[in-house]
Subunit: 474 residues, 2 copies
């Protein structure tokens, strides 16, 4: 019978990159698309994204953000107004030059992000301070051409949300930028169970056109960092270029202040590389498409009755009975590969004692539980499960966090215990460029809550005032 | 103060097309985008689409449909395999030819629809009859270049859902095609309150590559028809071209059977042209972003207390208190333009008698209601409101439905009482082409539940076995 045999997954410690690909494909999250750099989200992969969307969307709406949809295509002339923005994106932009056989008069770019379209709209829309703020968000596809493909991490087309807000004063815009960072950070820590460090990007790493970029940074199991979400404060950079002015309450014209912020399907990559293991995915319960999987050892009426009752009793969860005609062993493997947090096995021998077997995906611990204890057991288990996978990721990060005072020390750490390295840093673009050339790594963030002591830059030895995390990153 | 004055809406009977544009722009549903043919969905317009999505998505999931996301771009070589499909879309396809400065080796089309991408995936995925059916859907953007722009009705980029399913037998595929039509039809009738006619498309009007196309057809207030949703049965057309085969339970290889189906943001156009009036939008309650709008006549503590309590009491609805500093009259106009079904005005004089004023958007009827009767009144009013707007649309359709036996009779009706015209029709492509040339109209559907009597074709006078609705259409 086809596909009853699951493919082998390369051990994580043997080849992390191959392990990642094996997990992604075997758990049927995605398939490669026909155009290089594109992926197809299969149902199981897309369902994770839908859960992410639902939870985040609610958080955005709570603070007054409204969803919109702006067009896919940006005229070349409009895009080219903002120079630092173009420089950042130009080489990656897919360009529409014709429709049918007809060559277009102006080239159209597939959006790599939508600041420019939003700015163009705001310019027409905003007249008075009373019109502000506007807090917009969209869930959409964007395109940034990539030479290599890694599902979720590096794809030419990806899905994300991009928030764009515009304000009549600087303080409110800055506050919003940081409020979003807080939403992202809470979401990563409490929903995805990925511990993140909140901080600010250096000049070298900040977003094209932004005054300040804030980030949540996570550390993957292999010690490489991953930027999990960013929030940008533009000041009035975009407003000046796109002429977005409002009349203040004294009737004078001022430039408006804007922000943008986004998380993408990269988060699914971060989930995988934070939590999963040699048996496949380990999904945080809050975004797992299936939270509890019931598997019947045999298909007798009695067993089916019990599992149906359990399904009803546990209907607060996304719960599923595997009704397929696959073998019992196959079903177990599949539930493991898919990273389903809790599995209930209903079998004839256990039922004789009024029991079922419940097991956790993370620790693989199995326990026999009386039928009337299933609900409380599952509830407790899911909580413990989420806490445990968070703790494992946190322990990994802590073991892999170190500090260095010189570039030599830093390079040594990269070779021995790859992870986050806190260094004194001058903050200059040229110096960071130099570090990048020497080590193929860059700064991750100037972390919040870490004392910014004076010292000598770890690379150029100039006076430094910053303490910055550097790391190899995805 | 800016925008306290709402723009005038052209009367519907004076100039339907201008009325439509005025309503769409004044209700702040959309704005035009910088690329011709594109629109920006503002928050209020997008919120209607989100409500449509939520309700339909649930219906799809109930029958086992799973959401996926396939790439935006289709390689030219892949698209060109299916000839009838190409012919249908080639002149409308936006084409990516370069990335940055680099010319691509192969042209890439922005998807006008995704049959080809799905087929390409199914070809690799499907091996055994046990793998089937696969029931996929995606909510996404597609592009079909248009020369003219009419928000929601004719735009180069639009949002939709496209379902794609593949089956191991013909009967199941056909049944699914019709099940989807039923979901669409119930959704139009019961949620959007738009009466629709279910039927099959003629050979001339069926979808590029399909064996059979089914449709729900609606009639707008001005007597023009609008296709509100379609469901296509492909037989094994696509499977043969893209080589999608499965092994049946006897181990023999067979071609699979496929379907596709979609509704788009056109539905918002249909809502507007079915229900709205000279004061602006009239939205069906189930998709209205705000169902109940509370407006305080003054901002005293007592009034604010009452409206806050009412908001809590009516929290089963999407309910909103207009807290802006706009004038009372302006707030009333705005609630009308936005088509909010029910409005509650809380004022000092009414409150002296323990009352508030409740009014309906459709009939503009206003009644004084005791505070303890508000909840039951609103519940009954929303039901009556939805029934009434359905009935008005149905009456309009019935008054505009006629029949003709000859092309002359048909042409006369088009000039006098534009609407749906049932005619005897031969069903031949050439004949329909001829009707189209003569009248700029085409067939809408071969309706279900209408007796298909023999006769002479209204145009070519050949023997006919079909009774078909013809109409001018959007």
């Amino acid at each position: 019978m086809k596909k009853q045999q699951l493919e082998k997954i390369t051990p994580r410690d043997k080849n992390f990159s191959q392990w990642y690909t094996d997990v992604v494909l075997n758990a049927k999250l995605v398939e490669y698309g026909p155009v290089k750099g594109t992926i197809i989200f299969r149902p199981y992969g897309y369902a994770i994204w839908e859960n992410i969307q639902k939870i985040l969307d609610l958080e955005f709406k709570k603070i007054g953000v409204e969803n919109v949809y702006f067009p896919l295509l940006i005229p070349e002339s409009l895009f080219n107004k903002e120079k630092s923005h173009i420089e950042g994106f130009a080489p990656e932009m897919a360009t529409v030059t014709q429709v049918g056989d007809k060559i277009l008069e102006e080239k159209l770019f597939i959006r790599p992000t939508s600041e420019v379209l939003m700015a163009n709209f705001f310019e027409k829309e905003v007249k008075s301070y009373r019109d502000l703020p506007l807090l917009y968000n969209q869930w959409n596809n964007v395109m940034r051409w990539e030479k290599t493909t890694r599902p979720f991490l590096r794809t030419s087309e990806f899905l994300w949300q991009e928030g764009h807000t515009i304000h009549n004063n600087q303080e409110e815009a800055k506050k919003l930028t940081l409020k979003i960072l807080e939403i992202y950070s809470n979401f990563a820590n409490d929903v995805l169970m990925i511990p993140v460090i909140n901080g600010q990007k250096t000049e070298h790493e900040k977003f094209a056109g932004a005054q300040e970029t804030y980030t949540i940074e996570s550390l993957m199991h292999d010690g490489q960092a991953l930027q999990a979400g960013t929030s940008h404060y533009f000041g009035n950079n975009f407003s000046k270029v796109y002429d977005i002015k409002f009349q203040n309450n004294e009737g004078k014209w001022e430039y408006a202040y804007s922000t943008s912020w986004g998380v993408s399907t990269r988060l699914i990559g971060a989930i995988i590389m934070s939590h999963s293991d040699d048996s496949g995915l380990v999904l945080p319960s809050k975004v797992s498409p299936i939270q509890v999987q019931i598997i019947n050892v045999q298909n007798t009426d009695q067993i089916q009755d019990v599992s149906t009752k359990l399904q009803q009793e546990l209907d607060q969860y996304r719960i599923n009975i595997d009704q397929s005609d696959k073998s019992f062993g196959f079903k177990i493997s599949e539930a493991e590969i898919k990273g389903i947090p809790v599995r209930i096995e209903v079998g004839p021998r256990d039922l004789e004692n009024g029991q079922v077997t419940i097991s956790r995906r993370d620790t693989k611990e199995k326990i026999l539980v009386k039928l009337d204890q299933v609900k409380t057991t599952v509830e407790a288990m899911i909580k413990a499960y989420d806490q445990n996978i968070y703790q494992i990721a946190l322990d990994n990060r802590e073991q892999r966090t170190s500090h260095a005072e010189t570039i030599e020390e830093y390079q040594k750490i990269l070779d021995t215990n790859q992870g986050l390295v806190l260094v004194p840093f001058c903050g200059e673009i040229a110096c960071e460029e130099d570090v990048k050339k020497k080590t193929s790594t860059n700064s991750r963030c100037i972390p919040f809550g870490v004392e910014q002591t004076k010292g000598k830059c770890f690379n150029c030895q100039k006076d430094s005032t910053l303490r910055v995390y550097f790391a190899r990153a995805y």
